[in-house]
């Protein structure tokens, strides 16, 4: 039951994506979860089969407006899709999310030349030939990239592990991104955050598109063996004098880089919030079904009051998260994709991300408890969902870091009914 009034189109979209998540995504994600990391990225891996099908269905175009070659979905439709995909698998939802980041940013903020050269082939791809990833974190800098944006002592974060330098008409990039870049081992293009050579701060950086192949000087590390989200390969990227033309720089160094980072996190927060809701719902439904069948103390678990209460609490969390995330999505997607004013509220967007992620972990935790010892067994899906839920509260910046950022925004800007960039501006004025 959906409290939003769904149009016929919304309902059909929900049914179609749910069917795909149930019949294609979830079985592949379970299979991938059991495979060794190196097998997950082999050409015959189920990963590529699913990605190819998602491209065929045009799912990668879901965020972009029609005039940029996208599906032109409403904010509600975007939320519906993200929730259903994450219900099927957090890993595949994330893989699709990070695939969109470099290309969608290039479409929204890049030059016409870059759009024709890089975005159009990606939009037209129905074979899974192109795959993007979002390269933010470095071995020495995890959530630092989020924290440093408003920190008055932004130069305390130390040197970046990767830098870019302008040489003639090109930019030369050297260094490393961390082992937890989602989809890096399988990606063809990265949306890369790179500080400038000699810069004092991580924020003296740019965002650019980098083809991720050896021909360009990019080497990929081994796929990481992670606790969860094993259906989205993660790994390091090494950049050795990688040369990119000027027009591959989507966001130039300067104050607008700070604003861009803020707004990009608003967009990713919508995705993460929906992913949290989808994952929580998956865990909840597993627990509800199990509780209906499993007999303990002579009667089904659902007859036990403590189990009933658990189910209620899970339901309450999922429902409140879904509608808050949808409200924020409407605000963020309207500001960034429809109006193009890029003044979405970071504190609201990050709260949607935090809340969605938090309840995903809490619901998965409670759901597993209902399973008892069975929940610890790999025989049951809840075991995988719980591991994924443990990952989501770290993925895309930790809950703590996001919470601190929201708190700082509240302390400084609570009374303002607009997006205030004065803290970011101060940082750039000083440098």
């Amino acid at each position: 039951m959906d409290l939003d009034e769904l149009s016929e189109e919304d309902r059909l979209l929900k049914e179609e994506v749910h069917r795909f998540a149930e019949e294609v995504i979830r079985p592949a994600s379970v299979e991938l979860d059991k495979m060794p990391p190196e097998d997950r990225i082999k050409p015959d891996s189920p990963y590529f089969k699913v990605m190819e099908q998602m491209k065929k269905l045009g799912y990668h175009k879901m965020l972009l407006p029609e005039d940029k070659g996208g599906l032109g979905l409403s904010p509600l439709q975007v939320c519906i899709m993200f929730e259903e995909l994450a219900w099927g698998s957090l890993g595949f939802a994330t893989a699709l999310g990070v695939d969109m980041i470099p290309f969608s940013c290039a479409a929204l903020f890049g030059s016409e030349e870059l759009y024709e050269e890089v975005v159009v082939p990606w939009l037209e791809d129905d074979k899974g030939k192109y795959h993007g990833c979002w390269c933010v974190t470095e071995p020495s800098h995890g959530s630092d990239y989020e924290l440093c944006l408003r920190d008055e002592n932004a130069d305390k974060y130390g040197k970046p592990d990767i830098t870019a330098e302008k040489v003639g008409d090109e930019w030369v990039i050297s260094g490393q991104k961390s082992a937890w870049v989602s989809s890096a081992p399988v990606a063809t293009h990265g949306g890369v955050h790179v500080p400038l050579k000699g810069a004092k701060r991580l924020t003296d950086a740019m965002f650019c598109i980098v083809p991720l192949d050896e021909e360009h000087g990019v080497r990929k590390g081994k796929p990481s063996d992670m606790l969860g989200m094993r259906d989205d390969p993660q790994g390091e990227l090494f950049f050795d004098n990688v040369r990119i033309p000027e027009h591959y720089v989507v966001v130039a160094p300067g104050p607008f880089y700070g604003i861009f980072c803020d707004q990009l996190v608003c967009l990713t927060s919508v995705g993460m919030g929906c992913f949290g809701v989808g994952l929580a719902r998956a865990a909840f439904e597993e627990a509800l079904n199990y509780a209906r069948q499993r007999v303990q103390g002579g009667e089904p678990l659902i007859k036990h009051k403590n189990i009933k209460l658990h189910l209620y609490e899970m339901f309450e969390k999922i429902e409140t998260a879904r509608y808050y995330v949808r409200k924020v999505a409407e605000h963020v997607l309207t500001k960034i994709l429809v109006q193009g004013t890029n003044d979405a509220s970071p504190r609201h967007a990050k709260t949607a991300q935090i809340y969605g992620k938090k309840i995903a972990y809490e619901v998965a935790h409670e759901a597993l408890q209902i399973f008892g010892a069975s929940g610890l067994s790999k025989e049951f899906l809840i075991e995988k969902l719980f591991r994924d839920a443990r990952c989501i509260i770290i993925e895309d910046f930790t809950l703590e870091v996001l919470g601190l950022e929201v708190a700082a925004d509240i302390v400084d800007n609570y009374e303002k009914d607009y997006y205030d960039v004065s803290q970011i501006m101060r940082l750039y004025e000083e440098s």
Binding site: F109, V249, G340, N342, D343, Y419, V421
Partner: protein, 204 residues
């Protein structure tokens, strides 16, 4: 009506388009602040100016500067471009010059000889109205609340509607100086204005 960019007609058309737009009026109802656009002349400008129609348009813009103020061009790169490059007198009635003949001289010019030459436009926005658009002689209107600076080729992307101001500024193609906090609070107005600017039909 299709007009040439740059030209005095284009400035007039811009005023007309903006001031007749209800959406802009609403979005910019609280906006207070002027803009100085510094359009740096580049290879692309020279190429365009070899078209007599466009050169005539450019001269018609400079011609809107009152003669007593044209002194300010003397000895500046923009003044050198006009006087030494095109061989025109700043005291002349620039709109009546033979653009066909002047355009022939463009092929012999090198933009490097006029480094720093720019066409500066001052736009005075006030509470939903574009009160004035005028050419600013060198050194004038430098205290504008905002400055938008960049090469002619990139400004052309903006006025032809091929790109928008946000994309050009974010990508570093145009440089924006001023109170960005204020601007971000009024992005709907900025976005609408630049969309209107890009919507003016241009003669090629």
């Amino acid at each position: 009506m299709a007009v040439v960019f740059p030209s005095a007609d284009w400035m007039e058309e811009l005023k007309k388009v903006v001031n007749s737009d209800e959406q802009y009026k609403k979005a910019a109802a609280n906006w207070e602040g002027d803009f100085l656009c510094i359009v740096e002349l580049d290879e692309d400008a020279l190429k365009d100016f070899s078209n007599p129609k466009i050169l005539a348009g450019f001269l018609s813009m400079i011609d809107t500067v009152p003669k007593e103020k044209r002194e300010k061009y003397k000895g500046t790169p923009a003044g050198d471009f006009l006087e030494k490059g095109l061989g025109v007198s700043l005291d002349a009635d620039l709109s009546s010059l033979n653009a066909e003949e002047l355009a022939k001289k463009i092929a012999e010019l090198k933009i490097g000889d006029f480094k720093g030459a720019s066409l500066d436009m001052w736009l005075d926005f006030w509470h939903g109205e574009l009160r004035n658009v005028e050419v600013a002689p060198p050194g004038e209107r430098r205290d504008a609340k905002f400055k938008l600076i960049g090469p002619y080729a990139n400004f052309k992307l903006l006025v032809t509607g091929k790109s928008d101001a946000i994309t050009l500024v974010v990508g570093g193609k145009l440089k924006l100086q001023g109170d960005l906090s204020y601007m971000m609070r009024n992005m709907a107005a900025v976005k609408r204005f630049t969309d209107l600017m890009g919507s003016i039909p241009l003669e090629s």
